[in-house]
Structure formats: structure tokens, C-alpha cells
């Protein structure tokens, strides 16, 4: 076995020369039978049919206790991901101190409080650098925490005078039965500002994903539609599922500005609650991270008639394609010309950077296990560098993120997902108006512009690549031993274990404190960063000279 491993672990071996089914068997061999059966459905060898169909992958299912994986919880998805990046709202964590503490400033969502979206005057509010918590103590666990929560909301108001306050429940809150929604309603009436709560206890669902859904529901219920003002600007869009890690959203905003596209609101990188309130007045929703935000897009379409399309601003070609999709939708000469002009102006620098770096990256092999969209999106950038993705998977994606939305009707809703509320949305009697008519939609679709559609990751991956959902620590170590990839992409928890193997790990949640990587300028940053990582000298230093040739020579060097 040891011998076989060392043979496999040479540069010349490519996945094509392996039997992926054998590798899968090897990954499962050590597991207890029940675990192996479950994991077998989450480890899939990709195969794309002629009509784009791919094998079924079990996902959005419970994590196996004790297996050690990447996932976080519902609270993290709700507070951390979707509302954390909104600057002008006070987010109070209702619970013991930890949950709020760990989600304090750790996600790198940049924001610019002094420049409001859409050219409006800014009020300068920014609470993202603060952490607010009720710091529940044992008295509250025993006697209930509603009184303390009420008082905490009052104190937040007295000290900071925010426009809005949101409350996030952590694990014990649900168990002791605090009615956070009633408290929020009462305080909303008392203070005259928007106060609303989220029942996003950590144990709900099976991952962060449940929290995304709950956050989407909450914003849609309590915020979207509060402000009907139609602000100035042509080609009014929302950007959804872009969180401005390392300034990604700023780069995308820059491109929009150059193209003359008006960003009404963004969910939720560099976002403000005022812009959410007004977001239903946009004419098109663009979705970046489908997993975390598709619910808002769907609900906005049903209630207000705003259609959505999937975009991807990760990768130069993908960015150009996404800008063209927007132009195609609005279908106006002026916009199309401007978009083409911007692409023509920006692309040469990107191509030049890529050409310069590519000889040093081409043929390298990567693995991506992260999040619910990035494991897909970043394959674009790697492709541009000539880096091949051997294996990829999501931390909390669902089948539609892997296989495409075409499988939505076939997804079985299990007990864990059934607990997450699906809002019943009806068209708004006054404010529903479809932005384009049926005929136009048909024409655009015939021209290849897919509405309400996401094709998923697997159809874009080569046959034989391994797709693994909710990767475990054990599988990570085995994959590295088998393939010795040149680069591994995951998050902070995985980073240093992978690097101890001598393989660089690029964090695709926090970007290792770099970025932006979106858009054209971001692509150049990414090329440079990957060049740095895969060609760093540090990986040559792991062995000391005396380990390379341990024989003792008979004479001293100076003799």
C-alpha cells in the first residue's frame, strides 16, 4: 500500500490515469459501514451526458458526528453571511457570548460607509466593527432571556440611535423558548425604528445553508418593499450573493459604473438597509452566489415581477460574459456599445497579465472544497491559468448547486429542511409588474439568456473528476496523499493541516486577507497570487540538507 501510494504521488500521474472509482473505494474503506454507505452517495465521479445531465449527488444532508468537516451552523449563515455585511444596522446576538464573539469582524466584508449606493447622501452609519450580544447567563437560561433582550435593545437604541436593529437567536434561545419575535415587535412599536428577529438557532438545518434561507425570509418580510422611491439611473439592477470579501463588490461596482449600469442594492456586500428597502424597484436581479441568496430573488420575482439571471464575476471571461448578459437583457444599443467598449478597454491588461504568468502555472492541479458557489466559480480563474481542477465540492451546497436547477423538482425534502420555513409569496396587488413581457422573455431565452436558471457546477466539470460533498478531514488527507495536488482551496480550518503536507492552501472564504479577485482587476490579482503560492520557494525548504543525504562522511570538511 505504502509503495503504491508513493507511486501515485508523482507529478506525471493525472486523474485520467487513475480509476476514480478505486479512489472512491479507498476513501470509504476505513469508515464504519453505515458511514461508508452515506458517504458513498456524497462522493461522485462526474459524468456529463450529452444533454448536460450529471449523476445524482447526495448533499444538504446531515454531517456525520465525529467525522470532522468544514461546516458551520445556521446562525453563522444567517448572522455572519447575509446580514453581517450590512453596515447601518445593529445586529444583536441573543445568546451566550461565544457566537457573537466569533462572528465579530472575522469575515472581511468591506464596506464604504461614507459613500451611499446610487449616489444618494450617506448617513455614515457603520456598526460592522462592533459586536453586540446579550451575553446570556445561567439566570436567563433558567428563567428566560426575553427581559434581558428587551433591555439590550433599549440600551442599543439609547447609546447608538440606529435606524434598525436585528436580533439573532443562538442555540439555547430556541430551547428555553424565548419569543424573540414578540420582543422585537414590542420594541419596534416602542422605539419607532425597524426591529426584527431571526430564529436561526445553530442546530437548525444541517449547515450554514439553513441560516441563509432564514435570513432571506427575514429581510424579505421585514425590509424589502418599505421604500418605493424610484431613484435616478438607467439599467437599474441588484447584485445578489456578492459579499464584498476583500473588495470584490467594489470592483464589480466600478465596472457597473463604467458601463452606465445603476446598482440599486447589493445583497449584501457593501450594503445598507435603506437600499434593501428599495431593492424591489430594480429591473433585474443578478445572482452571484446562488446558494445563499436565490430565495430573495425568487420571492422578489413572484411578488414584484423582477426577473433574475445567474452571473459570475470570478474570471475575466466570466466577467465579460456576465456584463454582456446584462446588456442583452436591457437590449439597448447604447448599453451594449458601452459594455463592449469597457470590455475592450479592460481585457488587454488582463490577458497580458495572464500570458505572462501562465507559463508558470499551466499544468498545475488544484482541488477546491469550499462554500456553496466558490468551488464552482473559481474553476474559471484556474482554467485561465491553465490549472486543472481534479476534484471539487461544496461545504453546504444543495443538489441544484451541483447538478443545476433542473433537478429541483426531484429533490426530496427531508426532516431537516422541512423545519426551515418556505414563505408563501403572492404577487403584490399594486406593485407587481413584470419587467419584461412573456414574448420578450421567450426571445431572450431563445438567444441563450437563461432566466431563473443555474446550471450548477458538475455540468462544467470534466468527466472523471471527483465531486465530493461535505468533505471530511480524513478524505482531505487521503486525497492529498493520493494526488499531491499543487494547490488546495478551502477555508481557515483546513489551511494549516493541508500546508503541513507541503501543499499551499488558498482560502476562498477570506482570500487569505487579499483580493479583490472579482472582475478584471481582481482576475489579475488572483493570477499573481496563485503564481506566488504555487511557485513559492518555501516548499523547497521542508527537508534539511542533512536529511537529504544522511550518510556521515568519513572525514571532516576542513580536513
Amino acid at each position: 500500500m505504502a509503495k503504491a501510494t508513493s507511486k501515485l504521488a508523482t507529478e506525471s500521474i493525472k486523474l485520467e490515469n487513475h480509476d476514480p472509482e478505486k479512489i472512491k473505494a479507498r476513501l470509504l474503506a476505513k469508515y464504519p459501514p453505515k458511514v461508508a454507505r452515506k458517504r458513498a452517495k456524497q462522493i461522485v465521479v462526474n459524468k456529463v451526458d450529452r444533454d448536460g445531465k450529471v449523476p445524482v449527488i447526495s448533499s444538504n444532508v446531515r454531517t456525520v458526528p465525529g467525522l470532522i468537516g468544514q461546516r458551520g451552523c445556521c446562525y453563522a449563515g444567517c448572522k455572519g453571511v447575509v446580514l453581517g455585511p450590512t453596515r447601518d444596522i445593529i445586529n444583536i446576538t441573543h445568546g451566550p457570548i461565544g457566537c457573537g464573539y466569533y462572528s465579530w469582524l472575522t469575515r472581511r466584508n468591506q464596506t464604504d460607509p461614507d459613500k451611499a449606493a446610487n449616489g444618494q447622501a450617506s448617513d455614515g452609519h457603520n456598526f460592522m466593527t462592533y459586536c453586540f450580544s446579550t451575553d446570556m447567563q445561567d439566570e436567563e437560561i433558567i428563567f428566560g432571556g426575553e427581559k434581558k433582550l428587551k433591555q439590550a435593545i433599549q440600551e442599543a437604541y439609547d447609546n447608538f440611535k440606529p435606524k434598525a436593529i436585528a436580533v439573532f437567536s443562538t442555540c439555547p434561545v430556541g430551547l428555553i423558548g424565548d419569543d424573540v419575535h414578540a420582543v422585537c415587535r414590542e420594541m419596534k412599536a416602542k422605539l419607532g425604528i425597524n426591529v426584527f428577529g431571526f430564529s436561526c438557532e445553530g442546530y437548525k438545518g444541517v449547515s450554514q445553508s439553513a441560516g441563509h434561507h432564514i435570513a432571506n425570509n427575514g429581510i424579505f418580510t421585514h425590509v424589502v418593499g418599505l421604500d418605493d422611491t424610484i431613484t435616478a439611473g438607467k439599467y437599474r439592477i441588484n447584485l445578489l450573493g456578492e459579499y464584498n470579501i476583500g473588495g470584490d463588490a467594489f470592483e464589480i461596482e466600478r465596472l457597473f459604473e463604467r458601463c452606465g449600469i445603476t446598482l440599486v442594492s447589493s445583497y449584501s456586500g457593501n450594503s445598507s438597509i435603506d437600499a434593501f428597502a428599495n431593492s424591489h424597484t430594480a429591473d433585474l436581479n443578478l445572482i452571484m452566489c446562488h446558494r445563499s441568496i436565490n430565495y430573495v430573488a425568487e420571492m422578489m420575482e413572484t411578488k414584484y415581477g423582477v426577473p433574475w439571471i445567474k452571473v459570475n464575476f470570478i474570471g475575466a471571461a466570466a466577467t465579460a460574459k456576465s456584463l454582456r448578459k446584462i446588456a442583452q437583457y436591457f437590449d439597448e444599443e447604447e448599453l451594449t456599445a458601452q459594455v463592449e467598449a469597457v470590455i475592450a478597454d479592460e481585457l488587454p491588461a488582463v490577458t497580458a497579465a495572464c500570458e505572462e504568468i501562465r507559463p508558470r502555472t499551466v499544468g498545475k492541479r488544484a482541488m477546491l472544497f469550499v462554500g456553496g458557489s466558490r468551488a464552482h466559480h473559481y474553476q474559471e480563474l484556474f482554467g485561465e491559468l491553465g490549472i486543472k481542477t481534479l476534484s471539487a465540492g461544496y461545504e453546504f451546497g444543495h443538489r441544484d448547486d451541483y447538478e443545476g436547477r433542473r433537478v429541483l423538482p426531484d429533490i426530496k425534502v427531508d426532516a431537516d429542511s422541512r423545519n426551515i420555513e418556505e414563505l408563501e409569496i403572492q404577487p403584490d396587488p399594486e406593485r407587481f409588474h413584470p419587467r419584461i413581457d412573456e414574448a420578450k422573455r421567450k426571445t431572450l431565452e431563445a438567444e441563450g439568456l437563461g432566466f431563473s436558471d443555474y446550471e450548477g457546477m458538475m455540468p462544467e466539470m470534466p468527466d472523471g473528476s471527483m465531486v465530493i460533498d461535505d468533505l471530511s478531514q480524513y478524505e482531505t488527507d487521503e486525497l492529498i496523499r493520493i494526488f499531491k495536488p499543487d494547490l488546495f482551496c478551502a477555508g481557515i480550518k483546513e489551511k494549516y493541516a493541508v500546508q503541513k503536507h507541503g501543499i499551499p492552501l488558498k482560502q476562498l472564504h477570506s482570500y487569505d486577507y487579499g483580493g479583490p479577485y472579482a472582475g478584471f482587476k481582481g482576475a489579475i490579482n488572483f493570477y499573481k497570487e496563485i503564481d506566488r503560492m504555487v511557485n513559492s520557494r518555501v516548499w523547497e525548504y521542508m527537508q534539511a540538507p542533512w536529511e537529504a543525504s544522511p550518510e556521515l562522511s568519513a572525514t571532516y570538511a576542513w580536513e
Binding site: 457570548i97 437560561i141 440600551e155 445553530g202 471530511s472 480550518k493 521542508m542
Partner: protein, 459 residues
């Protein structure tokens, strides 16, 4: 401005914590458990907690932090986590094969009231714990105490589960180093070793959370106290426990269980605290202090005299964990500096607060102390009464930047600088390093603020 909404006017708050100076128990328990050789920490709760704890420790140490979780879903939260924990134990031993699993609870499993020892007994009865392997546990409800309490509880559990008195007292001295860096643990042990003392130190995260890069990942690295050592610590001659809040519970438990007498000291931060540590070791072990240590001590005294003029009278604000804050305050007062705003986020009791007040009795300025307090209040104090230096963790940099005050990073977590896990701040040598950091901060500021006329080459 980063913290642009912080009001200068202080209104007392009773319910809202803003910018906490503490976190929850399980992360401390996880850190302590990593200081046991071959141990996999296990979080009995939903998977969010362990993800957060692992992330936070990883950001601080830039090292792998492995731990497992019972991964509660809603069902487990209603019906209890027994099935999850039993399954986890089985999977962990089958797949990862540690020597020992250290289970800590979370606020979820505590609120449900899961009985961990009973569940572990069931796992054993079901044959899920292989021969020669161990599972131990600590209760770490996050709605009591802080991360330091969690560390103290897990350290105490090591004693409760493993320590045995074999009737014969050995010459060994137990060291309980407290919630300190791997480098500090190594330094504490080094001092004892230089004095010729055989020690058992627990927990011991040296070489676990500052390990080498060799190209071979070991899930269970070299370092850590072994179970065998933990068993033997019940027969040691005595225990020296450093830091009342983090280390006293374990030391007392060992005394109660195995009659190993204990001495509880401050963390050896600075001259006098290190003196106390060395002197206690000398007396407990019946050894004399070697010249090597006298030399280290003398060098520290020399340095204090060399640089005293830049330290004298400087106003300092300190925020951090209780044992560190107390020892640091004493050290700074001993340098004739003036700690004027002092906060720890961890509830540490009236006696602790009194020690802190006694420590600053000689400071001529008005001194603010809050136990427990948060970093909003800390910031407000600074706005009202500015200082020359802030000592605190990485979160303090937002205050330092806004108020334009030099910062020395100290404590947990430090997410944005290197060094803390390699260079100790304990002992005489550690005090030198701490002084270097403090003086660098103060003198860099002096240089920055000097005009073309008053700029000094020699200081």
C-alpha cells in the same frame, strides 16, 4: 473612524455587551485538550461551535486545530445527544485513532442537560472505546464564566479522570501553566529544568500549536502531556499552579484527590512574579538556584535600570484575561508605569478584583477597574481620559487606531501578528521581550512625533 459610534458619554448598561473582552468556555476547553498528547478535542453540541472555536484558535496560532463535533440537528436538540455522541466516539476511534478524546459540552448540550459520563459509559459498554484508549470530559456551559473558565474546567478534568496516588511521593513537581501560549509553557518548563527539577506539566501545547513544517502532516503531533504522566501527577511532591483563575481549580482538585500540596502563584510575568515562581520552585523541590538563572535575572534588572526613564509615569490601559491582566498590572506598576484603565471580560470574583485594586494602590492617578467589563466601556474610558499605551488583543487595534495611541498586542486572540506562539513573555527572558515590545511602541511613537529639531539619535 473605525468605531465611529462609540459615545464619549458613558451610560451604564445592564443587558447589552458591546465588543466583549471574553469569549465562551468551550474554546478554552479545546485549547487545554490540545495540550494532551494524542488527544482529539470533541465538542458535544451543534457543529457551529466547533467550527467557530477551531477557526478562532487557527487564526491565532496559524496551525492546524483539529477537533470533532457531535453535529446536533434539531432532533438531537429535542431528544438529547446520546446517539450523536456514541456515534461520534465510534467514528473518531475508527477513522482518526487518537489516544484519547476530550469531550466538552456547549450551551446547547448543557441546556438540554445531556449527561456526558453516562453517554460515555454507554459507548464503552457498546464496545466503541477500544482497549487502552480513553474518553474524558468537562462541563463547559458557555453561559457561565468565560473561555478561561473552560480552560480551567478541562484542566481540572485531567486531574479528576487520570491522576492517581500510588502511595509513594516522587520528586517530580507538577506545573500547571495556565491559559498561556505554547512558548510560555516551554519557558516555564525550561526554568524548572534549568534548576534541575523533573516536572509534569499539564496542559502542554508546546510543539502542538507551534509545530514544524516538514511536509508530513501529523494529526497528533509530538507535544502534549501524556496520559501516563497525568496518571503519575498524583504522586508528585507538589504542584505549582500559575494563575488563580485558570489553574487553581485543577491544583486544588489534585490536592483533594491525591494529597499533592499546591502553591498558587501569579503568572510569572515580569521580575517579581518570576522571582516568586523561581523561589517557590526552589523551596518546593529543595534545590538551589543556578547561576544561569541569576544571570537572566540580573540582565532583566539591568535593562529595567537602562530604560526606566521612558517607562516612568506612562499611563497604560490594559484589557485581557484575568490572570494575565493581574500579573501584567503588577509588572507595570513595578516599572513605575501607571495602569489607569483595566478591564477583564471574564467574571473573576470579588477577591480577584481586590487583588487588582491592591496592585494599583501605589498609582497616583485615578484608576478605572471593571471586572467583568467590555471593550466599549474600555474605549469610552480612553476617550475620557487618554493614555500613552494600550495593551490588549488584536481587537484593541480598532481603538488604538481611532484614538491614535500605541498598542502592544498581548493575550488572546492575536490574529494579526506573529511571534506570540514562539517568543515567551514569561520568566526573566520573557520580561525582556515584553519590555522590548513596550519600549518599541513608546519610542516609535516618540520618534514619529519628534520634530526636526528634537529628533534624537541615541535613546
Amino acid at each position: 473612524m473605525l468605531l465611529r459610534h462609540t459615545p464619549t458619554e458613558i451610560k451604564e448598561r445592564s443587558a447589552l455587551t458591546v465588543n466583549p473582552a471574553k469569549t465562551c468556555q468551550p474554546i478554552g476547553a479545546m485549547y487545554a485538550a490540545l495540550g494532551v498528547h494524542g488527544c482529539l478535542p470533541h465538542s458535544h453540541g451543534s457543529q457551529g461551535c466547533y467550527a467557530y472555536h477551531r477557526s478562532a484558535l487557527t487564526r491565532h496560532f496559524k496551525e492546524p486545530v483539529v477537533a470533532a463535533t457531535s453535529a446536533f440537528t434539531e432532533g438531537a436538540s429535542v431528544f438529547g445527544g446520546q446517539a450523536n455522541l456514541v456515534q461520534a466516539i465510534d467514528n473518531i476511534f475508527t477513522v482518526y485513532n487518537p489516544e484519547v478524546i476530550a469531550v466538552h459540552t456547549t450551551c446547547l448540550s448543557e441546556t438540554i442537560g445531556d449527561d456526558v459520563p453516562q453517554i460515555v459509559a454507554k459507548a464503552k459498554a457498546d464496545g466503541k472505546v477500544p482497549e487502552g484508549k480513553y474518553v474524558f470530559h468537562a462541563n463547559t456551559p458557555s453561559y457561565v464564566g468565560s473561555h478561561v473558565t473552560g480552560f480551567a474546567n478541562m484542566t481540572k478534568a485531567m486531574v479528576e479522570y487520570f491522576a492517581e496516588a500510588n502511595g509513594l511521593k516522587s520528586k517530580t513537581i507538577n506545573l500547571i501553566p495556565g491559559y498561556v501560549e505554547p512558548a510560555d509553557m516551554a519557558e516555564i518548563r525550561r526554568l524548572a529544568t534549568v534548576m534541575g527539577i523533573t516536572t509534569i506539566m499539564f496542559p502542554d501545547t508546546a510543539k502542538v500549536l507551534n509545530g514544524p513544517l516538514t511536509g508530513k502532516y501529523k494529526m497528533f503531533p509530538e507535544g502534549g502531556v501524556t496520559i501516563n504522566e497525568l496518571q503519575k501527577c498524583g504522586s508528585s511532591a507538589g504542584t505549582v499552579a500559575l494563575g488563580r483563575i485558570a489553574s487553581m481549580p485543577a491544583a486544588r482538585a489534585l490536592d483533594a484527590k491525591c494529597k499533592v500540596p499546591c502553591q498558587i502563584l501569579d503568572l510569572p510575568i515580569g521580575l517579581t512574579a518570576t522571582d516568586a515562581f523561581v523561589d517557590t520552585l526552589r523551596q518546593t523541590a529543595g534545590v538551589s538556584v543556578p547561576d544561569a538563572i541569576n544571570l537572566e535575572r540580573g540582565q532583566l534588572v539591568d535593562t529595567i535600570s537602562d530604560w526606566h526613564q521612558y517607562l516612568y509615569g506612562k499611563r497604560v490601559a490594559i484589557v485581557g484575561d484575568p490572570d494575565q491582566v493581574l500579573a501584567l498590572t503588577r509588572f507595570l506598576v513595578g516599572l513605575d508605569m501607571r495602569p489607569v484603565h483595566i478591564i477583564t471580560g471574564s467574571p473573576s470574583g470579588k477577591k480577584y478584583e481586590k487583588s487588582l485594586r491592591d496592585a494599583v494602590a501605589r498609582v497616583p492617578d485615578a484608576v478605572n477597574i471593571r471586572v467583568p467589563g467590555d471593550m466599549l466601556l474600555f474605549h469610552q474610558w480612553l476617550k475620557n481620559n487618554p493614555v500613552d499605551l494600550i495593551i490588549g488583543n488584536t481587537y484593541a487595534k480598532y481603538i488604538a487606531k481611532d484614538e491614535d495611541i500605541p498598542l502592544v498586542r498581548y493575550g488572546f486572540p492575536i490574529y494579526d501578528r506573529m511571534g506570540h506562539s514562539y517568543f515567551s513573555t514569561m520568566g526573566y527572558r520573557g520580561a525582556l521581550r515584553l519590555m522590548e515590545k513596550i519600549l518599541d511602541a513608546i519610542l516609535d511613537r516618540k520618534d514619529r512625533d519628534a520634530d526636526d529639531i528634537t529628533m534624537e539619535l541615541v535613546m
